[in-house]
Symmetry: C2
Subunit: 347 residues, 2 copies
């Protein structure tokens, strides 16, 4: 077995306390050890290769220097899902700078066992893209450690700090851009899963209100089933819509594929816009115009906020914002153009 504090104490002929004070520096307030004994202790520790047991320290101090990241809709980490990557990059970067470890825990992520948020292992929770129901809301209420949420529309859960892309602003920007190209009949496309999520709802609503603000006709919200049948309508000469704004890049990718399958040309017959502006967008045929949300920056900010909460001894010293909204830009690529029949649609 590994050498313990006690072993070192015995080897150096002192009490465990002295070792703790000298090696782990946590000497309460007024405890001091004479230099010669300290030297002895350090020597013994070196020889025995003593390392403090992090578990024991944490159990004692109620601090673990570990933060958990929870994804509500966890499919898989991989190149196909750039969101996770950017997010984890931002989170780890912020955590590492301040000496915290990041852990991904299947009990929470896969099993959805939010009650174990405060099982002692973590100083705080970063919760990404949460869905809300009685269970998760109760979990938040019962949590004994700080929680910060990412990518959830603000105001969803009172009292929980929230970091989110500005869906409203993003949708306004997209609609205005498409309108400036001449589009009027624009639909929002979303998948059956996302439409039920809080963010899906929020983004759909943002789209609808943006259309209203732009004085365009009340749009359809198209739920894109995998059978592609909805797209048949876009193959007709007088299609009901000339532009499709999609909930995600992934979904937009499916839409592009379907268009190709049904002989609908993009952007000649219909313009398509994605959301996330991941590297994926450069690979599609044609390259996908997409909303660029600063996932990494959001993640870093959310993490720093969480750590402030964790380390905050005097509670109301400097108050932090409960809601942080991040501006999104629009990366115009080649999947958008003037609607069919417009002046320069063949330019």
């Amino acid at each position: 077995m590994r050498a313990t504090l006690k072993d070192v104490a015995e080897a150096a002929g002192v009490s465990p306390m002295a070792v703790s004070v000298v090696l782990n520096g946590t000497g309460g307030q007024k405890v001091t050890v004479s230099p010669d004994k300290a030297k002895l202790i350090r020597q013994a520790a070196l020889e025995l290769r003593y390392r403090p047991n992090h578990l024991a320290q944490s159990l004692r101090s109620q601090r673990t220097n570990q933060v958990a990241v929870v994804f509500q809709h966890f499919s898989d980490i991989g190149p196909q899902n750039p969101y996770h990557i950017q997010l984890l990059g931002g989170v780890t970067s912020a955590l590492f700078k301040r000496g915290y470890a990041m852990t991904l825990c299947p009990k929470m992520i896969v099993d959805g066992d939010y009650a174990s948020f405060s099982d002692g292992r973590f100083d705080g929770i970063l919760w990404c893209r949460p869905d809300f129901n009685d269970v998760s809301l109760e979990a938040i209420r019962q949590s004994h450690i700080p929680i910060v949420m990412m990518h959830v529309p603000p105001g969803t859960v009172p009292g929980v700090p929230t970091f989110c892309a500005d869906n409203e602003g993003a949708m306004r920007r997209v609609v205005e851009y498409l309108k400036s190209l001449g589009h009027e009949k624009i639909a929002f496309v979303i998948d059956p899963v996302s439409i039920r999520s809080v963010e899906g709802q929020a983004r759909s609503q943002a789209f609808i209100s943006s259309m209203a603000r732009a004085e365009l006709p009340t749009p359809d919200i198209v739920v894109f089933e995998q059978d592609h049948s909805v797209l048949l309508r876009y193959a007709e000469p007088n299609a009901p819509h000339t532009a499709l704004v999609c909930f995600s890049d992934e979904l937009a990718g499916f839409v592009l594929k379907s268009c190709k399958a049904y002989g609908v040309e993009v952007p000649k017959h219909v313009s398509v816009v994605g959301f996330d502006s991941s590297p994926f967008c450069d690979n599609t045929q044609p390259p996908l115009t997409s909303v660029n949300q600063p996932v990494r920056q959001i993640a870093e900010a959310a993490t720093n906020h969480l750590l402030s909460l964790v380390e905050q001894t005097d509670s109301a010293a400097n108050p932090l914002p409960l809601i942080s909204l991040y501006d999104c830009s629009l990366d115009v690529r080649e999947s958008t153009g003037p609607p069919p029949g417009s002046q320069d649609s063949d330019a």
Copy 2:
């Protein structure tokens, strides 16, 4: 504070042990609790919202169900580095299936404090792309928990299970492919950092021996400094090489950029091959031919191996391989073609 085992015991009017046995099921060998008391205990636990403290359990049991992933050369997690993403995807997938958490710990990753491998927090270590020096070798020797290594040439550290791409086979495949196109003068390009790494050395050697096996002239190993000066040579009419095999996709990207800057056309004047076959390869100009190593599969296998080691009670029951080598394929894209002056070089 959160309810503890003791609280539940008091509420139910039984001993802590009874609670432990009923709720956490870990009842040693022959401990049983009468059904009525068990019911009482469960009830009390529910009301008090009791959750076992994972820290205390781990301290007691010497098992944490947590595995650490260590990157020796940690820059950053992000879309620019597909290696990390694929790796983490494979690792988490394998870990989660068996109920283990994954943690990234700055002490090890950033500070290189390998001595804290066994600080009690982890059941095992996955070590990726290690460099070897006295410090890391000693860390491995002193470790109290199993270590499995990924992406390090086999045999580097005796006794440590190693998962790696088959550099030899990959290089042989690349050289044979280029030879079949008509190339003879082929160089290996590597950056100043990687050339010092174990994997860099191994891959260079593999390239050299593959060239010998193909009965081609002994090749240059070109260390690609950022000043691009080495590439000037390829702008000449009688360039010394017609094909460049690069250590990584990232490096190949720089090479492509330099070629463009110096007016060298790819693949007309020179063919370029990368390593990793990341999504990045589709975006380069021209798209990059690259060796495809199955990072995700390697990661999954390495993780499963580690967990077997961790869970192995009877040591030599079913022995596992110390070395696992994975075959690599070659993804041919558009950065390779016949050498200049050959029959169909303009086809």
